[in-house]
């Protein structure tokens, strides 16, 4: 079933990204995905940044409200990351979060330069110690796998 909503009424999602919100019993996940064409233009290699949350659901806070809060933090960091790696013609193509962690995947032709840039950035205080790895699969495949 399709429906439309104005971005100012709902969340302000970044341009160019598709959204996917998954809801099940005791489980919520949210993702932002760049479309396949835009990914190809950025590169064939993938860098993965995993950030565990260090903010937790407060007593009585509803899970859906909590997740909306996490989405806001993640989108703020997404903008910052994209700004920092823009000069490397690289871009976050998949942001995927649940209440435990937030994963940014970056499409690039220069994974080493991206990793160096990431390591030089301060970690926002809503996250615990991040992990950075490269992924051997290409971004388009990873995206496809993700949406299943």
């Amino acid at each position: 079933m399709e429906f439309t909503a104005n971005t100012p009424i709902s969340r302000s999602f970044p341009d160019g990204y598709e959204t996917l919100y998954r809801v099940s019993y005791n489980y919520r996940s949210f993702a932002l995905l760049l479309d396949a064409l835009a990914i190809k233009s950025k590169g064939n290699k993938s860098v993965e940044l995993v950030l565990p949350w260090c903010i937790y659901r407060s007593e009585g806070e509803e899970i859906d409200i909590h997740v909306l809060r996490l989405i806001d933090y993640a989108i703020a960091l997404l903008h910052e990351l994209n700004e920092k790696i823009n000069h490397l013609q690289s871009k976050v193509y998949l942001l995927d979060l649940d209440i435990n962690r937030c994963v940014f995947r970056i499409a690039t032709e220069q994974p080493q330069a991206v990793i160096t840039t990431l390591q030089s950035m301060p970690c926002p205080e809503v996250f615990n110690l991040p992990q950075i790895k490269t992924d051997t699969s290409n971004p388009t495949d990873i995206r496809q796998q993700f949406i299943g």
Binding site: M1, F3, A5, S10, L20, R22
Partner: protein, 281 residues
Amino acid sequence: MDSAYCIQSPGNNVLMPIEEEQFRELKRARKRLSSAYAIRHKFRLIKTNYALIANSLKSLGYSYLTELTSEQRQDIKNQVNANVSNYILSARTFTAQLKRHVQACLPQDRVEVNRLTRRMEIEYQRSFAYRFIDSLYDYISYYGISIHSVDVSGKLSLNNTDERVYEIKAYIERAYLGGPTDFRASVLKEMPARVELIELLDAYMESLGRIYDLACKITDEATEQSQLLLREFLNVFEGVNGTRADNLFVVHSIGDSPDKIYDSFPISMYSAQAEVYDNNP
């Protein structure tokens, strides 16, 4: 005690006597028409429940994009669940009694009823959606829930940069359907990990549509004849009494007093509805 038969207009106390044989004819026509209309009413129930599901699903999808209170969100979830349950129950009401309704229209004709039975068997054999919804009835009537998870996806609208187009998909998941005691084992076995609700209902509606069309086709002639018979009596009533034949009842009373009513049934409602159905097939 003597029986008396008449057509009565309770509103303005007008009464027209009829013969016993005419009473029987009217009663037969009324039985056929009520069955023929029941088929149509029930099919409309299903279609309307589908439209309600579509609406409440959209509200549910929207609810995950906005900061609602948990009570507000729960209300919307309850609505989706109620609408899906009503759909499944109304579908069962339709399929379970369809043969009986058709038989009531054609009491002499086993062949046509068998044709319908065969059609329903074919749909069951050919359509996973038909089998699945038939089995889901047991699950919903036992547990009272229907949907296990939803995905809400969205992208920027092509023609308006402020607007996003979202799509909500609701799933029934195999992992939650449980053991064979709660859900028909053979259908559970052929089921994928999850089934998307709207795809399922669309496929199911196609099967139901074919069954419904056949049921209408089989009963059309008997329905039309019964309508004509009824119309004749209504016309005579109007001619004799000079009043419109609105809200008339056929009454079988015993003894002299028309208050001692043995049997009574409405007829005008079938005529009025006949017009509605003729205009909106």
